[in-house]
Amino acid sequence: MSAGSMLPLTLEAVCFEAGGERHIHHISHRFSHGPRTVILGPNGAGKSLLLRLCHGLITPSAGAVRWAALTPRRQAMLFQTPVMLRRTAAANIAYALAINGVPRAARPARVDEALARVGLEALARRPARALSVGEQQRLALTRAWAIDPEVLFLDEPTASLDPAATRAIEQAIDQVHGSGAKIIMTTHDLGSARRLADEVLFLHHGRLLESGPAGEFFAAPKSREAAAFLEGELLW
Amino acid sequence: MVKRILLALVCLLGASVAEAEPRFITLASTTSTANSGLFDYLLPLFTETTGIAVRVVAVGTGAALKLGERGDVDVVLVHARGAEERFVAAGFGLGRRDIMVNDFIIVGPAADPAGIKGMASAPAALARIAERRAPFVSRGDDSGTHKAELRLWDAPQSGDWYREAGAGMGATLNTARAMDAYTLADRGTWLSFANRGSLVALVEGDPRLVNPYGVILVNPARQPHVKAADGGALINWLTGPQGQAAIGAFTINGEGLFTPSAE
């Protein structure tokens, strides 16, 4: 890894409480460059919270979230529902570049490049909110990608999408990974997980029950809950 | 597009700030005097002769004198002798000149429930209104008209029938019409008042109903910025032969209104 890389990201006994309740219990893990990490678990397991703790949107009540280097801050996140500013698709990407210090002169070329990478060039001048959900999510992904992140967090990125759009997003995620970014994604969709994961973290009731290579997890889960989850059973 | 709008707005702002300054003085007078139309007729004659424009701020007598006291105007023209003399005595004004007189009339509903029509004595008519507790609307605003009205009652009035409008002459007449009430009005406002309904003039001519006007220069010793020379020019013109003749010639619907009274 080049000097100044943000990874590895280390979680040390991270806890999170809100409304008098503890939602994340003592989670420790080390996220390294390379494998695509998928955080799996039923709804309410705390996956989204964990992702937000890693990304810095919320702070842990106990424990620590440690990056190898704090600057430059090159991480981005994709949310379940894409959030677009009321401007054109191109302008949305330009905005992200502007926030991250890309000089005005360099932005148009980077915007065109970003749009082309996911095949959205034709929609550059369209108001971003007028695009379909699938197109908006692709736009959100390429907006995140445009700032050249080292780590890309994705929170249930295909939950709102139809199969065709899901496929397009998964392909794009592959592309981002291929360009050298670390992927950390949550999902409750087993199909997505199987397709994308190199490494799996299994969460249940805010606890990290299992972590390890994807192949091993899917073939032979070590915990009862994981096994039940993989069978498609509802977990309490 | 946005840039053009912004440019237009900046020009608008610029125009607001850079206002052209013709030669002018500011006169505080009463709403009844202004509403009679006298100033619209009289002051352009002065401006033609002297080249000085006159900006008239028309408020109640109390407010007009207050504007003079605070130095916000150059000349004051009101009809409240007592208050005018106190104004000069306190050093706010420099000399009071008689300029003209007009008169008040008591107006009321044509049905005249208090039976005052044609009475020669205004105080007696008002006493009868009080006795009968017939609805009466007072200016209630410390104006010259209000002060004149108060002098005509034998005692301060109160009760359901005595309504203080706290408003100018026109608004008070509107209220009197709506309530079918009596009121004391200056002849000028009455002559040009368009909304009479069933109100008619009932009592007039009593010498106690005479309403003298005075014009006062705001004291430049107290207020150095006052345009004393131009203000003095207005006063001299108003009390001089040209102004006095013009005042006497002013009519509303053919009826004379003011009698020049400068010595």
């Binding site: 959030v83 991250n100 | 509403n35 408003a167 100018g168 007449l173 008042f193 368009a194 909304n195």
Partner: protein, 227 residues
């Protein structure tokens, strides 16, 4: 209400003839209120956005104060501005009393809280929608101020129109600080008040109809220019 019919006829007559006095009065009304709303927006939009986004001690009190000041009676503002600009007052040396500038100042003070308070709500609602995404992209709350002001532009146009409408319609403040001087500080609302006080109800109503038509035209135009 046969006055209303007569008023419509009078109004059309005045407009069709482009009556000189009417044009002057309308022109001054627009000049005063437009200038006031431009200044008020220049202060109120960023102020509202900052109170919505930036955390500082006493922020809740400031927000409550802005909301309360929306209800400030114009005549009270007129009185306060008069006392300040009067020759006997602290700013008397500028000689601004009884000029359009004084009227602009009074109206600006009147509508800045309205614009600021409404902007605060618009921006706060937008922040609720955008906070996570903007923070994820790396935007600070301060950086989000211009972003959300632009993003909320449709709602903010309505906010500005609300302020402008309030200014154009008020009479208490401009009457006191302007003096309703003929050919100098007479605007539509003070002219209407004057004609009403003279008993010229049809003319007053006609002027009111002209004012209403003006407001409708401006709102209509603002709707069409939606960026």
């Amino acid at each position: 209400m046969n006055e209303l019919g007569a008023a419509f006829a009078t109004a059309f007559g005045l407009i069709a003839a482009l009556d000189g006095d009417l044009v002057a009065i309308v022109g001054l009304s627009l000049r005063v209120s437009l200038t006031a709303v431009v200044l008020a927006a220049a202060v109120g939009l960023p102020l509202g956005a900052v109170v919505a986004l930036i955390r500082f001690p006493g922020r809740g009190a400031v927000a409550a104060l802005l909301d309360a000041l929306m209800g400030l009676p114009p005549v009270v503002i007129g009185l306060l501005v008069y006392l300040a600009l009067s020759r006997a007052g602290p700013l008397g040396v500028f000689g601004l009393l009884f000029t359009p500038s004084a009227m602009i100042i009074a109206q600006c003070l009147l509508i800045t809280p309205i614009i600021a308070a409404l902007t605060r709500q618009v921006i706060a609602d937008l922040w609720a929608e955008y906070a996570e995404q903007l923070r994820s992209l790396g935007a600070t709350r301060l950086r989000a101020v211009p972003t959300l002001l632009w993003d909320g532009r449709h709602s903010l146009v309505t906010v500005i129109l609300a302020g402008f409408g309030r200014a154009l319609a008020e009479v208490g403040a401009v009457m006191i600080v302007g003096g309703n001087i003929d050919h100098a500080t007479r605007v539509m609302t003070t002219a209407i008040a004057l004609e009403t006080s003279k008993g010229n109800l049809v003319l007053a109503l006609a002027l009111g109809l002209v004012l209403l038509a003006l407001s409708l035209t401006i709102s209509g135009a603002a709707r069409m220019v939606r960026p």
